[in-house]
Symmetry: C2
Subunit: 259 residues, 2 copies
DNA sequence: CTGTCGATATCGTGG
DNA sequence: CCACGATGTCGACAG
């Protein structure tokens, strides 16, 4: 073997236009080996659980992950049309659905994925399978992400004057009766300051959240306490701005990263 | 041809262990034909846009949809580790990245997907491709879903007594300064009632939302107006329940469907 | 485009 | 398990 591209232990096994029986066998084997399985073909999809849904026949791409997740994708949209979260149990079998009017006695390949709590189940029934694949590989590395709310918090803690001159952070995630406050501190005059951080432009919900924290702290610290509430985000919507004014809250424009 | 399974116009074309050049050609051709493309292999992933992220080499499954969506899946999780929304432009090319320390002069296959507003771009760089597939098919049917907030609304409109005896709905989506109210009506005593619907157990946010509607309506209808606010959901959390009591709001337990 | 809100939201963290 | 809040949330719909 010549040196060059490092050899990966990853494998991909593919069946093209398999019979339903061959597809069933291959999928069962791949699930057993904890491979990631994909199936493309014409299918119907039914879901019953937190809600319920049905989807008539169409050509779709199904992915079964070894952690129990299931995804049904059409040729459109970022989101799967149907899915099942991780932790589910996958099952595959061939079924001669004589009773099923739609199937009309023809054999079908059935993928089922379900879990007990909450009780929910996804059933994908293939009339026709064009491809089955089984993938195995390794993925040791984690995603590193920046531009998050956590980055915004670090930015303020490292340079509190970004919020305002004289601001002193005293705690993060300080608990109140209404939940944990992002940053808790004092201003130059010694008044208590509650800071709510948002990584992007915010609407009314964020103002409501800040208001609950301020109210809770004014109670915790006794009635005469004067607590300032500051919302920190790149920008606010008009409605949110009006709510801020109505409730005597403040806004500071700041982004998660300096550029 | 014997009768039996109806013939589908769907097609699936697969390359196993292609050279990077062959993979590139096949992907370019498939994108041209507006097929759904999947690529499995060892790759790094970089994203720059609303935030930014990097992901070191690992074995992953990439899907490029003809509507411009891109998805990068690992063997775990329901959500893609990286993605691009519909409306993006996909591009593929082979690159001898001599400057790139990681690539170490070896040839790589690059998938890029981006859009101008917001300006963001995803770059998947394959060291090794184990499989390339191109899928085409049709999916005319839409998902039918039940157990939604809309179902809960219908349930109450058809049988207002589920909310309380004497309740009369007057409008849905009634506009207020704080946004549109789910159901607007009157109780047996002629008092204005604002109803906020949630299809599942709710926390503090929903109470805040209801409160904003009640406040807005009390202003709209002049100061002495007595407006009742009723939250309708299967159940509420403790904290939300306390907020309801604090703000003089009410709760009715109801699910989106009767069973 | 922006604003607003629902979602089978998902996901992580903490109790 | 439940609760709470962040998310590159995504989507749909209205203005």
């Amino acid at each position: 073997m010549t040196s060059g591209t490092p050899t990966s232990s990853a494998r991909a096994v593919t069946l093209e236009q398999p019979t339903l029986g061959a597809a069933c066998e291959a999928i069962a084997d791949a699930l057993e080996r904890e491979a990631l399985v994909t199936v493309f073909g014409r299918c119907t999809v039914d879901y019953e659980g937190r809600a319920s849904s049905t989807l008539e026949a169409g050509d779709r791409h199904v992915m079964l992950k070894p952690d129990g997740a299931a995804l049904v994708h059409t040729d459109e949209g970022q989101q799967p049309v149907n899915w099942q979260p991780p932790g589910c149990t996958h099952d595959v079998f061939c079924d001669r659905a004589g009773d099923d009017i739609d199937a009309n006695g023809a054999e079908t390949l059935v993928l089922e994925s379900g879990r007990p709590t909450p009780d929910e189940r996804l059933c994908v029934r293939f009339q026709d399978v064009l491809q089955v694949s089984a993938f195995s590989g390794t993925d040791e590395n984690e995603l590193t992400l920046s531009g998050t709310e956590e980055d915004l918090r670090q930015r303020i803690l490292e340079e509190p004057t970004l919020l305002e001159a004289g601001f002193r952070p005293l705690a993060t995630e300080r608990e109140t009766a209404a939940g944990a406050v992002d940053i808790y501190g004092e201003d130059a005059a010694g008044r208590t300051v509650v800071v709510e951080l948002k990584r992007r432009r915010v609407g009314p919900d964020a103002v409501g959240q800040l208001r609950r924290y301020v109210d809770a702290l004014e109670r915790d610290l006794h009635a005469d306490a004067d607590v300032r509430g500051i919302l920190v985000a790149p920008s606010v919507t008009d409605r949110a701005d009006r709510l801020l004014v109505d409730h005597g809250l403040e806004f500071v424009s700041l982004e998660p990263t300096s550029e």
